[in-house]
């Protein structure tokens, strides 16, 4: 409203946005993402000094190993949430591909390689199903993926019931638990993760496709008119999410040693919580991968530190929940504080400002 009343008096060429009004380092440092990174560093420093055994050799290794699924799934989820959609079905896809991998290898007698490729293909197919319904049929993604959340998990449960498959080649299961360099806390899974993270960062932040993703989140109609293929972009993102979920399904199977239908149940909420904690706006159009990765690791560090401190998993879940609520509310809390300050300042100066404010809706109509 206020912009509507102000624009006529301002010169037509004046910028209405403040981008690049600050130097580069300020734009980098004073951002949501950097706040999360700072919080992560603070958490690590605090844990190392205050929590016993946190600086032990195993802690960081298990932190990375346990966070790997969330780290991987958060990559495509970030892009999907930036377009303003959501995918609640990723964890179910993980469960389904885990079961598929186990059954293809154990029951159908395929080699682990073929089974893995087929399982990733099934993941991509699940993503394509979501993507088709959301992007081309135009259904709300939250409703579709609540449905497929039950559907994919249900197929996995139907196929395997309460049974499980545990027979996998030793080389594969060892690989999932190995470290890159002996005695260093970096598990092997970090290699594919880093490759994927770089690929997703390039795709999201340094490619025309990525600009389209952000534009869709800000205004999908405007994106359509500037030549972005909205439906195709969304569909591709859902397929990517399914594919990554397929990969995570195999990883989860190998690292736990069992393929069963309940693998990674409820993980979707942790992924979404981490993505939102990392500074991605649920309304779409805003967010960055480095913030998300810091968000995932922040949750991991808090979990680890509290576990080492003897807290139960329930207290940890409460903390994560509070953190999630606070992080998404921080924007509106800051805005509220700013409004209160401005209101008190406006009341002190004169009645003119409030007078023009009242006419604003009328002229806006």
């Amino acid at each position: 409203m206020s912009t509507l009343t102000e624009t006529p008096s301002a010169p037509a060429t004046a910028r209405t946005y403040a981008a690049y009004s600050r130097p580069f380092w300020q734009r980098v440092v004073f951002s949501r993402e950097f706040a999360v990174i700072a919080l992560l560093i603070a958490a690590i420093v605090y844990s190392r000094s205050q929590v016993d055994y946190f600086d032990g050799p195993q802690t960081m290794y298990y932190l990375f190993r346990d966070s790997a699924s969330i780290l991987l799934l958060a990559l495509p989820m970030t892009a999907i949430i930036i377009t303003g959609e959501i995918d609640l079905s990723v964890a179910s896809t993980v469960g389904l591909t885990s079961v598929a991998f186990g059954m293809l290898h154990n029951d159908a007698g395929l080699s682990a390689m073929v089974a893995a490729i087929l399982a990733i293909g099934i993941g991509a197919l699940c993503g394509a199903f979501n993507g088709f319904l959301v992007a081309y049929v135009g259904l709300p993604s939250i409703a579709v993926t609540i449905g497929t959340l039950a559907l994919f998990r249900g197929i996995a449960a139907g196929l395997l019931g309460t049974e499980s498959r545990t027979d996998f080649p030793d080389g594969w299961t060892d690989w999932a638990k190995q470290r890159i360099v002996e005695d260093q806390p970096y598990p092997m899974i970090l290699i594919p993760f880093v490759i994927l993270a770089i690929a997703f960062a390039l795709l999201l932040h340094f490619s025309p496709f990525g600009r389209g993703v952000f534009e869709i989140g800000l205004n999908d109609e405007a994106a359509h008119f500037t030549g972005v293929d909205v439906a195709r972009t969304k569909a591709i993102l859902f397929v990517l999410a399914g594919t990554v979920a397929g990969f995570v399904g195999i990883y989860t199977t190998l690292v736990t040693g069992v393929a069963r239908a309940e693998n990674s149940q409820g993980l979707e909420l942790q992924v979404i919580a981490a993505v939102l904690l990392g500074g991605v706006s649920i309304f779409g159009g805003k967010g960055a991968l480095h913030g998300v990765i810091a968000g995932v690791l922040l949750i991991g560090v808090i979990q680890r530190a509290m576990l080492l401190n003897g807290q139960t998993i329930n207290i940890i879940n409460i903390t994560i929940g509070v953190l999630l609520v606070l992080s998404v509310m921080s924007t509106s809390l800051l805005a509220l504080a700013r409004r209160v300050i401005e209101a008190s300042r406006g009341a002190r100066t004169s009645g003119r400002a409030s007078g023009s404010d009242k006419t604003a809706p009328a002229s806006g109509r």
């Binding site: 959501i86 319904l133 049929v137 135009g138 259904l139 709300p140 939250i142 409703a143 579709v144 609540i146 449905g147 497929t148 959340l149 039950a150 559907l151 994919f152 998990r153 249900g154 197929i155 449960a157 139907g158 395997l160 019931g161 309460t162 239908a261 909420l269 979404i272 919580a273 939102l276 649920i282 309304f283 139960t312 329930n314 207290i315 940890i316 879940n317 409460i318 994560i320 929940g321 509070v322 999630l324 609520v325 998404v328 509310m329 509106s332 809390l333």
Partner: protein, 372 residues
């Protein structure tokens, strides 16, 4: 000009029948009846057995309560994912109160409902005044409430011997062949259904869900209504927790896990639009009934119970696809109706009709008529 505005040509009775035949509620009800019929043919005891009839009515009562509350929230274009955790928390509170105090049953039930309402109030305050999507807030409070429940309960569970006999009888007794808990659920359903259809507050919930900005400009108390919807949803989840304690006689730490998605699914299957503004609690309750009944009839039909979740998922996806198809068809029908009407009711050449001002009210009232 006033002659242009005509009531629908069909008689009220015909219109009611037509609307009923087109309604989602009837479609779900038909599927439900067919399912029960097929299952009963397969095994008589599903409907006519001594416990079959009771279980058929009793099992859905919890999910109906949750689905009714969820519908009120979804209608306002929000969602409440914390109902499962709320339910677990109140179920445990119920057991705890019976162990630690000598409160009469009615007071314990009230305490459960109040606790649920309080938890709903927290959701509502955060959503309405935080200007944050309900999905995120209730996702957070889902973690928080579940964590609080598990921390409070620890490793102990409430056993049947901890609760008074009269309370447990509530879970099994019936009046005129209808279990008491089902009567409670139906009473809540009727009250909320009547409120949403006739009361000002109920209509405003629909208005807010259709277009929140328009509702705000129209002068509706949007925040207060959304707050109310969340309190109602929380209170019903609290009641569902009490009901589950009475029904099962035990409270374990898994009460209500994952049931929030079933509640949303029931509402979606029952024709409640996920983006608000349309749908009824009757549909949601029928959806809940259908989900629970599928759950129970699959084993009877010889399908492994493990496939139940897949069927539920397929139903949800099918329901939203069906909705989209119907909406598209209705849109086309509206366009066709507008075109034929503006062409036929005016003496002037049909091609001029759109620019003649007098044609607008006529076509407007017509389209509104069809929408209703």
């Amino acid at each position: 000009m006033t002659t242009d505005i005509q009531p629908s040509a069909v008689s009220p009775a015909q219109r009611v029948v037509k609307n009923l035949l087109r309604s989602r509620e009837l479609a779900v009800a038909v599927v439900l009846v067919l399912l029960i019929a097929v299952t009963t043919i397969k095994s008589d005891s599903f409907l006519f057995g001594s416990t079959g009839w009771r279980d058929l009515l009793l099992t859905p009562s919890m999910l109906i309560l949750l689905a009714v509350g969820q519908t009120c929230v979804i209608i306002t274009r929000n969602v409440d994912l914390s109902v499962g955790s709320t339910m677990g928390l109140t179920a445990y509170l119920t057991g705890r109160l019976f162990i630690d105090t000598n409160l009469p049953i009615i007071a314990v039930v009230l305490a459960g409902v109040l606790m649920g309402a309080g938890l709903g109030l927290i959701n509502g305050v955060l959503v309405a005044f935080g200007r944050v999507p309900a999905l995120v807030i209730t996702l957070g409070t889902m973690y928080i409430y579940r964590g609080a429940f598990l921390t409070w309960a620890g490793s102990d569970r409430i056993n049947a011997s901890d609760m008074p006999r009269a309370f447990k009888d509530l879970g099994t007794d019936s009046i005129l062949g209808i279990p008491i808990l089902t009567i409670v659920a139906l009473a809540v359903l009727c009250a909320v259904g009547y409120y949403l259809r006739t009361a000002r507050g109920g209509r405003e919930l629909y208005a807010i869900g259709s277009d929140p900005d328009a509702a705000e400009l129209y002068g509706l108390k949007v925040n207060r209504r959304i707050l109310f919807a969340f309190v109602l949803s929380g209170a019903l989840a609290g009641l569902a927790g009490v009901v589950s304690a009475a029904r099962f006689g035990t409270v374990s730490s898994s009460v209500g896990t994952g049931i929030e998605l079933e509640a949303v699914g029931a509402a979606v299957i029952g024709g409640v639009a996920i983006f608000g503004g349309s749908g009824t609690v009757w549909g949601a309750a029928l959806g809940a009934f259908l989900l629970v009944t599928i759950n129970r009839s699959l084993p009877v039909l010889g399908i492994s119970g493990f496939w139940q979740q897949a069927v539920v998922g397929a139903l949800i996806v099918g329901a939203i696809v069906l909705d989209r198809v119907l909406v598209n068809r209705q849109e086309r029908a509206l366009v066709a109706a507008r075109d034929t009407r503006s062409g036929s009711t005016h003496q002037g050449p049909p091609s001029l009709a759109p620019v003649v001002p007098s044609s607008t009210p006529g076509s407007d009232s017509e389209s509104e008529e069809v929408v209703r």
